[in-house]
């Protein structure tokens, strides 16, 4: 059975000093239900994801004690994709007809702290200052630039486009555009990554209403088909965060496998994508993920960015809502924010920059530690394929 997204809801991203994570989640779910023109009492499954902001199933106290099933998933940055896949499976398996997927988080300021033991590492790794996510992004980025002849200007162009898109998006956190020069001149947090090339922990919630296709036409004017959602963990050789050692020739990122699986399942190729959201926890990650998911060739990013092809009006619009760079990362919400943006783009009702020309094929990609990626292909009903 084909599964479709028939309603979306999203809070503003950024800081919400007066609201709890559950407050944000409730707000997103209510908006998604209203968007689908349905009620919580009509929902028979909810899947929730939050890394640090409480138990998603506590939402039943606010939304209605209807007795529905409410599994919680927890897969770091890949939580949104895993939640969507879990709901889609339950619909396909006949265990649910109408599902809500909700992701939220309310992180405090500053970099994420990590516990070595929960990654199976010795205490020495944390004590000596190696257990820092942004170090990993920086080292992976530097090597990638070196191997594929990309410049630090490309990193800055990713950020500048993200902030440009964020400035146009009413729910984004960072609403001020920044020039390539400003990005390059900012504090070098973990060189080659400057302050504006790294996303910050933030706060927000996103919800989707998902149904089987036979109900979808009742609930949405233009339901968006979930043509595929794939989740993959790393294979040997992947260059992952918190790795005291690596294979001499790192390769085989889970993003490659998840994207390949999603495109195969959907029967579409990366070249058919009209709008893409790829994980941009940092500018280097976006560059890497564009190629790993097949949206461009390794090394091609330099020209794509310099030519503005990843802008909303370009040939390959990327992170049209500003991505993690402009929205920050509430871990449980980021993956679903991507889906929210793609659904609205395909329906022609983007809140920020609308991709022109009636886009029909969308793509989302998240990647999280330790080595999990989730990719989805979304199509407008009646899409070419």
């Amino acid at each position: 059975m084909t599964v479709a997204i028939v309603g979306v809801g999203m809070t503003r991203f950024g800081r919400h000093d007066e609201l709890s994570g559950l407050d944000l989640a409730e707000q997103a779910v209510r908006e998604a239900l209203a968007d689908a023109g349905t009620a919580w009492s009509d929902v028979d499954l909810a899947v929730g994801g939050s890394n640090v902001s409480g138990k998603p199933d506590a939402l039943v106290s606010r939304l209605g004690l209807t007795g529905l099933a409410f599994p919680t998933v927890r897969n770091g940055c890949a939580t949104g994709g895993v939640a969507l896949a879990t709901a889609a499976d339950a619909i396909r398996a006949g265990r649910a007809r109408t599902a809500v997927v909700v992701g939220f988080d309310k992180h405090e300021r500053g970099a994420f702290a990590s516990d070595p033991a929960s990654y199976g590492l010795g205490a020495w790794y944390g004590e000596t200052g190696l257990m820092v996510t942004t170090q990993y992004f920086a080292m992976k980025t530097r090597r990638y630039l070196h191997e594929h002849g990309l410049s630090e200007e490309s990193l800055a162009r990713v950020s500048a486009r993200a902030f440009r898109n964020g400035a146009a998006h009413p729910r984004a956190w960072r609403r001020s555009p920044l020039s390539v020069e400003q990005v390059l001149a900012a504090a070098p947090v973990n060189p080659p990554l400057t302050q504006y090339m790294l996303c910050q922990p933030s706060q927000g919630a996103v919800a989707l209403v998902v149904t089987g296709e036979e109900r979808a036409a009742d609930l949405a004017e233009r339901p968006v088909r979930l043509a595929a959602v794939s989740v993959r963990t790393r294979r040997y050789g992947s260059f992952e965060v918190f790795s005291p050692s690596l294979d001499p020739v790192p390769r085989r990122s889970p993003s490659i496998d998840a994207a390949d699986s999603a495109f195969r399942t959907a029967g579409l190729s990366p070249s058919e994508v009209d709008v893409a959201q790829v994980q941009d926890t940092d500018s280097g990650s976006e560059l890497i993920h564009l190629a790993e998911t097949g949206l461009c060739a390794h090394g091609e990013q330099e020209k794509l960015l310099a030519d503005g092809q990843t802008d909303a009006e370009g040939a390959l619009p990327v992170n049209t809502d500003g991505g993690c760079l402009a929205n920050g990362e509430p871990i449980g919400a980021s993956g679903l924010r991507q889906v929210h943006e793609v659904v609205r783009q395909l329906q022609g009702r983007a809140l920020g920059r609308q991709v022109p020309g009636a886009p029909r094929v969308g793509f989302t990609h998240v990647y999280g530690a330790p080595g999990t990626s989730s990719c989805a292909v979304l199509t407008l009903e009646g899409a070419r394929s």
Binding site: T128, M139, V189
Partner: protein, 130 residues
């Protein structure tokens, strides 16, 4: 006597040599010592001394103090360089005792010990080969 952050990281301390695992089946080398091969899952790899010199494979500088469990030096935090060093069989992550201006991919480096935290213990690091 040198006290290190984790004696299990080393096969010897003077001179320092890192202890890795080499799979008996596929030859994959990993650091630190582990119970099984991450490539083929065979348990019981051999413990081997890793090469004590190599080249910088990638690097960055940690400009802000990490959150705990990081232990800053007694004199307070100051930025430090980290990177992966290509030891031939394996890339190993560690501190790089190299001036940031001299850091580059391909720079020859060798293994040394360096004090960390309150200074009472040492960890491994790599310095430029003279």
């Amino acid at each position: 006597m040198t006290t290190v952050v984790d004696p299990g990281l080393f096969t010897s301390l003077d001179p320092p040599r890192l202890a890795g695992s080499r799979c008996r089946s596929c030859g994959t080398v990993t650091f630190p010592v582990g119970g099984s091969c991450p490539r083929c899952t065979l348990p019981g790899p051999d413990t081997v001394a890793l090469a004590d010199a190599g080249t910088v494979w990638t690097w960055t500088v940690q400009t802000f103090p990490p959150k705990p469990p990081y232990v800053p030096p007694a004199g307070g935090f100051s930025p430090y360089a980290v990177g992966y060093v290509d030891l031939g069989d394996v890339l190993v992550e560690g501190h790089l005792l190299v001036e940031p201006g001299h850091l580059r991919i391909g720079l020859p480096v060798r293994l040394v010990l360096t004090p960390v935290g309150d200074g009472s213990r040492s960890t491994f690091a790599f310095e430029a080969t003279p």
